[in-house]
């Protein structure tokens, strides 16, 4: 279905307590800040699993949600940039699931691509491989990783067209395309809403089949 326009508040209104929310961005670059603000201010959903490379910064982006005590589990690769993550984990208020950054990206892609799981050599022999199935393939040790599905994905794109096709600018692309494809409900916050074909058909980064709702960046 083509995407429908909605306010940030409406766009996040179907996120429920216990849901898994995928949030794009590398640090704050490419992060859907209007949607995150709406989730912080207009949603009552608690006990969230948040999948994001980082968990914002103290009091910024997803860091606000953490301060509200609404994140039960954080799945990502680099939480060191927000010391409040360490504090919450220490206090037993937050479960942290750490993945190598490439495994995080690939697990999201796998979810979007209907892949049941994949073997990767990354992390073998480290603490992050603990409890994971290991298998030697063509002489190389691999671990089995599972796809990472979301109930909702919040992504940011510089441009979205009337159908919901998305185009990302420079390094703001990062995790956004993989996340857009990995959730049941995908909301795209767009910097600019453009007419059809203003995004060259060869340059569409996320085809509209992945986008349910669009909202304008503030």
């Amino acid at each position: 279905m083509p995407a429908r326009l909605a306010s940030p508040e409406e766009a996040v209104s179907s996120i429920r307590t216990g849901d898994t929310v995928l949030a794009g961005g590398f640090g704050l670059v490419g992060a859907p800040l209007a949607l995150i603000d709406a989730l912080v201010e207009a949603s009552k959903a608690r006990e969230l699993t948040v999948v994001s490379n980082n968990l914002g910064e103290p009091g910024k982006g997803l860091g606000k949600l953490l301060r509200q005590g609404r994140v039960r589990r954080a799945v990502g690769s680099f939480f060191t940039s927000n010391p409040e993550v360490a504090a919450a984990a220490q206090a037993g208020e937050l479960e942290v699931v750490l993945l190598p950054q490439g495994t995080l990206a690939e697990a999201l892609r796998a979810a979007g691509a209907g892949i049941g799981g994949f073997f990767t050599p990354i992390g073998v022999g480290t603490e992050l491989a603990r409890g994971k199935e290991e298998r030697r393939i063509d002489g190389v040790a691999n671990v089995l990783e599972a796809p990472l599905h979301g109930d909702a994905a919040l992504v940011y794109a510089a441009r979205g067209d009337e159908l919901g096709n998305l185009w990302y600018r420079k390094t703001a692309r990062n995790f956004n395309p993989a996340m857009a494809a990995a959730a049941r409900l995908t909301v795209a916050e767009v910097g600019e809403l453009v007419a059809l074909d203003e995004i060259e058909p060869e340059s569409v980064h996320t085809p509209h089949v992945y986008v349910d709702l669009m909202t304008r960046a503030r």
């Binding site: 279905m1 083509p2 892609r109 979810a111 979007g112 691509a113 209907g114 892949i115 067209d161 009337e162 159908l163 096709n165 494809a181 059809l196 074909d197 058909p201 060869e202 569409v204 085809p207 509209h208 089949v209 992945y210």
Partner: protein, 212 residues
């Protein structure tokens, strides 16, 4: 009669498609569907080779050698179309982003097994995207004549031809009627082309209930 049956089936199949849906159409009868959708139908056609937003066939001067569908026929692209590579195309298919796949078949079983790519005893040399589509699409509609040219039913209790997928078909549309697969059982929900229930029974190799 052959051509008429195919047209009838395609017209009926077109009614299953609603605006906004993303649809993949196989070769044969499904390829006749677009003319019954018309311009502005709001149906988005995906072709697995890899384009979302397939438009009508090109006029001669519009033919572009880089723009074909999965049947290798020249097509056009609508405004808002997107091209991608094959890995992404099938990620989209397996990932459940195709609302409906419409395809032809050699046999369909009462529990929705589909055989559409190979005939036993012959070299099996081409599957294309059929297996991906029937497993990945949210809804699978089979469009086919009720019987082979030799008069054998194509809807059967169990497929004897090599399977494309198990329990995949949701709807089977023939020139005689519409059969839905519900919890592994066939239900005749509609008669077509003036056929009676007994005509469907005669041409069908599997039991079905009737819920017209």
């Amino acid at each position: 009669m052959g051509e008429d049956a195919r047209t009838l089936i395609a017209r009926r199949a077109a009614q299953e498609l609603v605006p906004g849906q993303v649809v993949n159409l196989g070769v044969g009868i499904p390829n006749l569907i677009p003319k019954f959708l018309g311009a502005g139908s709001g149906v988005h056609i995906q072709t697995e080779n890899s384009l979302l937003g397939v438009g009508p066939p090109p006029r001669p001067h519009e033919v572009d050698e880089d723009l074909i569908d999965a049947a290798k026929q020249p097509v056009t692209a609508l405004a808002g179309a997107a091209y991608f590579d094959s890995a992404e195309s099938f990620a989209m298919i397996r990932g459940g982003r195709i609302d409906v796949a419409v395809l032809g078949a050699l046999q369909v079983s009462e529990r929705g097994d589909i055989a559409n790519w190979a005939v036993p005893g012959r070299n099996i040399l081409g599957v294309g995207g059929a297996m991906d589509l029937v497993v990945g699409a949210r809804k699978v509609i089979v469009t086919m004549t009720a019987q082979t040219t030799a008069g054998e039913p194509k809807v059967v209790s169990g497929c004897t031809y090599p399977l494309t997928a198990t329990a995949a078909a949701g709807l089977v549309i023939t020139e005689l009627g519409v059969l839905a697969v519900r919890e592994g059982r066939l239900v005749l929900t509609e008669l077509l082309g003036g056929a009676a229930v007994k005509d469907v029974r005669r041409a069908t190799g599997a039991p079905f209930s009737v819920d017209l």
